[in-house]
């Protein structure tokens, strides 16, 4: 059976934006998900995790099961090595150089064995306006922001509320990409990596039977908003689950969901009209991808259409309902 393409997410942003902090935070919170990280420098990663062993030239395994490649041999070889290790990573994160164009690096996501899964650009709220006006790098920084599917906004705690509001409003003018606040680089794993696949969840989650779909592994972090979805607790994102009992028009779903401002991630299934197979729906930022759902052995075919949606906090249920006509929210908001 052909192996599923490994999602490849790119993390970009200018020097000292906080890319490394974000990546380290993801490694700590991966919670059993085997991540493959491609970085410029091994030394930056792994503040908390220990390097367990070297798997080969330029690839190391970290405590927690994540693996890390550096770019000493180049991007192609790094990705080839990630494909060849056993078991393969469930998700690959590529850190882009501070002077690089994240959109260009995202092209590597088309390498066979992978699929592109979004561009996250890390933006330091306390410095971004100065950078966007910098004599040397203004055009580069604005370009980077423009290439984002998701904006991860760090260092907001160094500003007062009014300043923060002013910067995020300005940022909204530079890019329609949703902004997730992550003052210390801590961002829910699902924002950057999306939801774990049902096969990986290992909970035997069954869809369409009326039980709550658990589409994320989470870390089992206690209660709080989003825990029912397996999404790690955070006041900077909002998770909700939606179902539709009626057939779904897939192209409407793609365009309306993709246009939902503040959408960070979405994942689930949609039953189209007629005899069509259920469709796997995955979204990052404004990109919605609907692909034929591949059955897993032993897993039942989804009956209902169900979608877990992750948005920025200010997005109201009503707004999501407008983007998903005919769908109802079915989880219990906390």
């Amino acid at each position: 059976m052909p192996r599923e393409a490994i999602p490849l997410t790119v993390v970009g942003g200018y020097l000292a934006a906080g890319k490394t902090t974000v990546i380290n935070s993801l490694l700590r919170r991966a919670g059993g998900r085997r991540l493959g990280i491609v970085v410029n420098d091994f030394g930056e990663v792994n503040v908390d995790a220990q390097i367990l062993r070297r798997l080969s030239d330029g690839v190391v395994e970290l405590a927690g099961g994540c693996v890390c490649c550096d770019l000493s041999l180049g991007m192609g070889p790094a990705l080839a090595q990630l494909l060849s290790i056993e078991p393969p990573p469930a998700h690959v994160l590529v850190e882009v150089s501070g002077v690089g164009e994240p959109g260009a690096v995202a092209a590597w996501g088309h390498t066979p064995g992978f699929r592109p899964d979004g561009v996250a650009v890390v933006v330091p709220l306390d410095r971004i306006r100065a950078l966007a006006g910098d004599r040397w790098v203004a055009d580069l920084v604005i370009d980077q922001v423009g290439q984002a599917d998701l904006l991860v906004c760090t260092r907001g705690d160094l500003l007062d509320v009014a300043e923060q509001h002013s910067v995020t409003a300005w940022l909204r003018q530079q890019s329609p990409a949703p902004q997730v606040l992550a003052p210390h680089g801590e961002v829910p794993v699902e924002v950057i990596l999306g939801f774990a696949t049902p096969a990986e969840a290992g909970t035997g989650a069954v869809l369409g039977t009326g039980t709550e779909a658990d589409l994320g592994t989470g870390t089992g972090a206690g209660g709080g908003a989003g825990a029912a979805h397996g999404v790690q607790a955070s006041s900077f994102v909002r998770a909700s689950t939606w179902r539709s009992a009626t057939a779904v028009d897939i192209s409407t779903l793609e365009s309306r969901l993709g246009a939902l401002a503040g959408l960070l991630r979405a994942k689930g299934f949609a039953r189209p009209a007629g005899e069509g197979e259920p469709v796997l729906v995955q979204a990052v930022g404004g990109h919605v991808e609907c692909t034929p759902w591949l059955p897993e052995p032993g897993a039942p075919t989804p009956v209902d259409s169900v979608l877990t949606v992750l948005t920025t906090p200010e997005v109201a249920d009503m707004t999501i309902a407008e983007a998903l006509p005919g769908w109802r929210r079915t989880d219990h908001p906390h």
Binding site: L15, D41, G43, G74, G76, P77, V99, H110, T111, P112
Partner: protein
Amino acid sequence: MPGTVIYPARLVRTLDRGRPTATAVAVRGDRVLAVGALDELGAYGDHTIDDRFAEAVIVPGFVEAHAHSYAGALWQSPYVGYFPRTGPDGRFWEGCHSIDALVEQLVEAERALPDDAAPLTAWGFDPIYLGSTPLGAAELDRISRTRPIFVLHASNHLASVNSAVIVNDGLAGKTQIPGVVTDPAGRPTGELREFAAMFQASPVLDLLAARGTAAAFDAFAALAHRCGCTTVADLGGTPLSDPAVLDALAHATARADFPVRLSMFHLAAQGPTPIAEEVALVAGLEGCSTTKLRFGHVKLIIDGSIQGFTARLQPPGYLGERPNGMWITAPERLREAFGAFHEAGHLVHAHCNGDEATELFLEIVEQALARSPRWDHRHTATHSQLSTAAQYRRMATLGVGANIFANHTYYWGDQHRDVTVGPDRAARMNAAATALANGVTISLHSDEPVTPIGPLASMTHAVERTTASGALLGPAEAITAAQALEAVTLGSAYLLKMDHEIGSIEAGKLADLAVLDDDPLAVPAARIAHIAVRATVLGGQVLPVGPGAPR
């Protein structure tokens, strides 16, 4: 005590202001004993007269201050560029003026390969000169359908492969990779653009593996020797932290017949190594320098290339509303790296193609000098293609040199005039006259393999200011032949901090000479490039150039 040998010549141009011409050079050991007339030199005592150069013109051995030793690796493969080149073995490659000519060239090369399965790699292809026919599998299959064929373009950012590569490396299954060009039916054409696509073709690894080897250094040295160089600077691309590379370098240069002195620059701030470690590496290497192998200088890359639209330009920027180019190294890292090497006493040459890159470099130099004043640093903007008059004035004040890419006027002058920056800025590109008028020390370079190494040719380009199509471009920036000769001898030596040893023929300096068939200051500018090099002398050792020449 080594014996004295006197070499009479038709003419000796010394580059010594006190004695600009002479008719004989006396050499003792590896040094010049004296320069003058034969009877004067006879007064220095016992000597032998070696009159093999009696009809020739002797000038200081040329100093190429910006080339890359990986050219020696490329030259292990056939050359398929548009312009003629001479290879390390003296073979003249007339250049491929059509796809047919390229195919013919490679059919010949393919036949000569000993092993049926080994890939055929080639380099230097530049479609810009061949009109719009792309080079792909359809054309390369005419050479062989079974042997993998990989042609690296001159830009280093594109490649062309044949069907054997498409099949062996499964390119038909990789067409979603941007850069794997497909035909309307979705099949790979054999054109690969940018690294993500190029990497999919396995022969690229063969091309890379040849770098940093003894064979590559020998080929590079042979290339330089043939055009009269006695000293060449490798401006990075060969990793000096690799013990195997250092070993190969040490062994090659230790041989008595290794024909040039190498100044190996460390390319800094490209990888994750902390700057302090890089500084320590360079300091350690400097201590290992020998007379033919010099370490201690540092290269920084600031921006890309003008013809690739990746150089950083000040307003008005590129023609056609294009976005500005790329910072190869972030400004903060440049500041940090430059500062560290400057404070540690090293010499830095920074690649600046666009004028915005030059501007940043000058700001960084000025700030570093304000923090840590240093006499006679000689930091240099290399390429310096779009540096403005104002920037040259600043360079003079700051003590910064300019290694100018005069060859570009010939090879890309038409493109700069018509496509990249327009006639007025193209005319002031590679502004050697402005630099000299403002008191900036200059050199002229080839950036081999980007353009062919050859200081005599660089002189022609700087004096003639003529493009490949024959158009005059910016004649006001032309310099005299005398100024050009100084640039490729003493000027280069000065910018490499070797001017006390080489670059002119003076008593006490190393006996590094170039022996020419003609006087570059007495022929029309266009002829300078065609003056034959009979031999070089390196530290007193005669190294003939010619088909029968030693390696």
